[in-house]
């Protein structure tokens, strides 16, 4: 069974600080996606990374796919209260067309 472990589960930091969220697995994925979910809403896709070692930037968010395509990280620079939410990573299985979700990191940015 393919699993995606996210860490930390919860993170509460002050506005302006930097943070990194991790998504790890022992399995290889065809692609890795990051979603953000706000309270009362469904997850919204932030980015998809496909190539091992790939780095993508979305304003203050930097996403990296591990060289072996087993893990990924999300780094936020100078966090803002608007970054508050549940961050989910999701891996595309190379064996079938299923997407496996991590349990999420709940991020709270204090003003």
């Amino acid at each position: 069974t393919q699993l995606l472990e996210q860490s930390p589960q919860f993170l509460s930091i002050q506005e302006g600080e930097n943070l990194t969220v991790y998504c790890n697995s022992s399995s290889v994925f065809s692609s890795l996606q990051w979603y953000r979910q706000e309270p009362g809403e469904g997850p919204v896709l932030l980015v998809t990374v496909v190539t091992g070692g790939e780095v993508k930037k979305l304003k203050r968010l930097t996403f990296q796919f591990g060289d072996a395509r087993k893990d990924s990280s999300l780094h936020i620079t100078a966090a803002q209260p608007g970054d508050t939410g549940l961050y989910l990573c999701a891996g595309a299985s190379p064996r079938d067309d299923k997407i496996i979700f991590g349990k999420g990191t709940r991020l709270h940015i204090l003003p």
Partner: protein, 116 residues
């Protein structure tokens, strides 16, 4: 923009009732999915459909069934609701299997179901 809508944001039902959750997408997507989301357990796939009239069991199909009579609509049915089915239910759609694994899954806003 793709829009996925769900029939109710909040629903309260009694144990034993039959419950229908409706999901509609407006972008002619072939693939549709039903998940439930619970604290500490993440998103778990209940059922999915690759196209009209098709359905496949996900990881936790017990106690649920689905219907896809039209391409844009995917219904989740709780045959006899139980308290352990209290959860947030999320519907999602995706263009098709060919676009996997880089395509986006578009989620609806969710239905928070409480079974008393």
């Amino acid at each position: 923009d793709v829009k996925v809508t769900q029939s109710s944001r909040y629903l309260v039902k009694r144990t034993g009732e039959k419950v229908f959750l409706e999901c509609v997408q407006d972008m002619d997507h072939e693939n549709m999915f039903w998940y439930r989301q619970d604290p500490g357990l993440g998103l778990r796939l209940i059922y999915f459909s690759y196209d009209v009239k098709m359905k496949e069991k996900g990881d936790i199909p017990e106690g649920y069934s689905v219907s896809r009579e039209k391409k844009e609509r995917f219904s989740l049915i709780l045959e006899s609701a139980s308290t352990n089915q209290t959860s947030m239910y999320l519907c999602a759609s995706r263009l098709n299997r060919v676009s996997f694994p880089t395509d986006t899954q578009y989620f609806g806003p969710g239905t928070r179901l409480t079974v008393l």
